[in-house]
């Protein structure tokens, strides 16, 4: 996913789609915000063409860890035998270990906070020109409780989501599927609907669809979400452009 404003671009996560994205545009600097290092969110990184161009600067932001640096953790993937190029050969790549914090990147104000998902995982809120986009692609806000807490003070990710113009959020399971997958780190449709309502989100983009769901199931889930929330529901799909 990418967010653009005033000719500047932020790239969110690095799944397989980042390969095509890397072939577009001609900027000198790229900023990639990783929510976490599960393979589905980083597997496209080595195939992001600017990474291998010494005349390009690539900044990779990702969750801080008590165990090792972001560079070291990504180095477990960007190294033989998993990839022929070693991370230490990428002199144009800069790594930023991100704690819960706020940082300015070009025209964007980026707020990062830890959210509920196995392993250190960040959600991001990107603000620019009075609009805000909250990006929580892997998130289980109702972990172990079966429903969201009544008090937003105790809801993971709430401050990132509160009153966001657009919320891009995990919508992997329907309610029946979620009952057998508590603790897996993903959200059910009804939890997402409750969260969007509590946070008064304006536009909701259900995201991170389950690979086992066909278009029919996704349409059904989107319709259910639309009926359960006052937010405008725009299902995430490859190539979609959302103006904010």
């Amino acid at each position: 996913m990418e967010i653009t404003d005033s000719g500047r671009r932020l790239i969110l996560d690095a799944g397989t789609g980042i390969r095509k994205l890397g072939l577009t545009g001609d900027e000198e600097r790229f900023d990639i915000l990783l929510t976490h290092l599960h393979m589905d969110h980083i597997q496209g990184l080595p195939f992001f063409a600017p990474l291998l161009r010494p005349d390009r600067e690539v900044h990779i932001w990702g969750p801080i860890s008590t165990a090792s640096s972001l560079r070291a953790r990504l180095g477990r993937y960007l190294s033989p035998p998993l990839f022929p190029v070693r991370i230490r050969e990428l002199s144009n790549v800069y790594f930023h270990d991100v704690p819960p914090s706020v940082v300015e990147i070009g025209p964007f104000l980026v707020r990062a906070d830890l959210i509920m998902h196995p392993g250190a995982t960040l959600g991001y809120r990107v603000s620019s020109n009075g609009a805000s986009i909250a990006y929580l692609p892997d998130h289980e806000p109702a972990l172990a409780d079966g429903s969201l807490p009544d008090d937003p003070e105790w809801i993971s990710g709430f401050d990132l989501i509160d009153e966001a113009t657009v919320l891009v959020h995990d919508s992997q399971y329907d309610d029946a599927e979620y009952r057998d997958r508590v603790g897996w780190g993903h959200s059910s449709s009804s939890h997402l609907a409750s969260l969007a309502e509590m946070a008064n989100v304006h536009k909701l983009v259900p995201f991170h669809h389950d690979p086992g769901h066909d278009d029919g199931v996704l349409d059904e889930m989107a319709a259910g979400l639309a009926a359960a929330t006052t937010a405008e529901v725009v299902p995430g799909q490859e190539g979609a452009v959302i103006e904010v």
Partner: protein, 130 residues
Amino acid sequence: MAQQPLEMILVRQLASYLAVPIWVTDQVGNLVYYNEPAEVLLGMSFEDAGPINAERIPDMFRATALDGTPLAAEELTLSVALSTRAPAHGSLRFSGLDGVSRAVEVTAIPITGQGERFLGAMVTFWEIGD
């Protein structure tokens, strides 16, 4: 109120599932949550009492050494853990809101989150015989 840090949310959820009495406090000792087993010790449900400011705790729960010697606030196990940011353990006697005096072993563990953020403490109580 701003959302609690994720680590505190997780500690609260863990506490809510355990059979051991547990308090969860913020960095300055405000009691932000206690679980059902702790309600028995304190003599009031968290639902009714809500979060409790650190300043009110000494008056609400009078704590002494096991032999009845008064304890200064800074001698309390929780206070030690918060000020030293290291685990602390002790034994004391305290009276809950129901007026019942109980002898307990107390262990306080500081909660330090990602990025070395000091967030508060988790306190467990173990009732011991008189």
